[in-house]
Amino acid sequence: MASVEQDTAVRTGGISRVFIYGILLIFMLFYMMPLFVMVANSLKPLHEITGGNMMALPQVWTLEPWRQAWSAAQIGVEPTGLKPYFLNSIFMVVPAVVISTILGALNGYVLTKWSFRGDKIIFGLLLFSCFIPFQIVLIPMATVLGKLGLAGSIPGLVLVHVVYGIGFSTLYFRNYYASFPTELVRAAMIDGAGFFRIFWRIMLPVSGPIIVVTVIWQFTNIWNDFLFGASFGGRNQPMTVALNNLVQSSTGVKEYNVHFAGAILAALPTLIVYIVAGRFFVRGLMAGSVKG
């Protein structure tokens, strides 16, 4: 069987191979096009864009739009650039990702290895939270944040994203731990390890792939969130909202080159996370299905 398939693969030569690679090349160029436009235009002076061709390479190469976007551009009423908002996003994303991942791991651990009466219902409700649209919770969430005194603050945004993230992170960890042999937990119990000791010494060391999946998922979602940031950010708005304020400003000349640079800056962290941890992402998603 295998040898037959191999033969077919070998015989797929010449013309069809050129055809396949040709198509792939076209698709690659198509998908790379926006990135090329953004990078190229962020590196030229404004008059080259307004007076010329969007697709052309810069005639004069300059980093000025990047400097502008980062530290000088007008965001709303302040000429601060995106820098403070970038930091806002970092201060929001990092704790939110860490906390929701830890809680998800603990939930998954309890739901699979310390099952109790009604655990299925609780898991079902947690899953349900994955499907609630953001808009529905805006007003109740605003009330809660107000009562907690967290309205318009970064800790408030962290809380919102943690609450929203628990559903997904629990789902990931529960499914991962469901295939983790319960006998190991029992052996550790007999060996005298308690609840947290088993979690820390037995479960977590083998949870690498699913941690990566959860972190990537949470990081991308929280970093890219606009609605909660715009609604509850107050003066501490995240990067996405600031980028909108930069691009949508209604006064003055539209500085497209600065806008392009700002957009790349806003997309950069998620891009880096994917490039660094992407291969673990695929491995983690496969971990439950094919067990080696």
Binding site: E183, R186, A187, D191, G192, A193, I202, V206
Partner: protein
Amino acid sequence: MGFLEIRNATKSYGNVKVLHQVDISVEEGEFLVLVGPSGCGKSTLLNMIAGLEGISSGEIAIKGRVMNGVHPSKRNIAMVFQSYALYPNMTVGQNMTFGLEMHGVPKAERDKALRDVGKLLQIENLLDRKPGQLSGGQRQRVAMGRALVRNPDVFLFDEPLSNLDAKLRVDMRTEIKKLHEKLKTTIVYVTHDQIEAMTLSTRIAVMYQGYVQQLGTPKEIYDTPANVYVATFMGSPAMNVLPSRVVVKDGLPHAQITDAKGAEQLLKFSQPNLSDWDGRDILLGIRPESITDPDGADRNSRNIVPLRNLVGITEPAGADTFVAMSLGGKDIIARMRADANVVSGQDFDFAINMEKAVAFDPKTEERIKP
């Protein structure tokens, strides 16, 4: 008062009772095997001893201390699991000393215990490896080592050999037996393999449908099974159980059975009290090795009965030749010497060792005691 006492222990999940009134008393140094088909409650009972499952009613006591509600780690037991349950992220050495570490044993003592057990099980050269780098047999040793390091009161084994291939299983079985004879530890061992049960145990509890069917030494279980279930479960090939009728002739009870050609034959019993059953139906139990060729019959038996019957098929198995034939309307198996001259489709003179035959009440399926 035994070392490990199980008194009236039951287990139910909701309305489903999976274990009924189990009473077993294990002496120090005993090797008790719980054997039975899957779903008979043997693993549940083991988990109850370990404390991994609660006890619905009754008591379990180790060294006179009642263990109901006591956490598994506080019972001073160690368990070897079917999947070995080695922690994949730790080395063999860390695996084995994890329990000691959790109990706050100082590093120097842990290392000494590890060295001693490593030497005993000949796994000293594996201590720095991860479980994933070991073969099945090595993992099995490490799992036993992890239990031994703790020096527990009772060892619990949950089908420890069922993941090994056939040859390794036999080797490890011998090793476990040697280890037990050397260390004289108290062991409770769960298996579904009746040969493991026979070879390893000092006593066997045969379990079926949540009841202990019989508790006794391997010889008692084999020679005097309490009921038809135990008789057919223990032994390979299984005991032949065939319908028969008691006929008293010359003042002695005989089993009247129908041979392959439909003729009635009489086999004299060695059990005089069966005269009380004169004229009534019974189930006659004869092990395959009790039906032989005349030369292969047990010389020490005082009751060898001849039986001429049509040979069905023969199955040479190297050491023995198995003969299938019809008797009492059932297909039965006889075990001959390898070179016995039996030919299928012909009549042959068999010799039946009736001293070893057992009779069962056909209604209750209990053995009729002498």
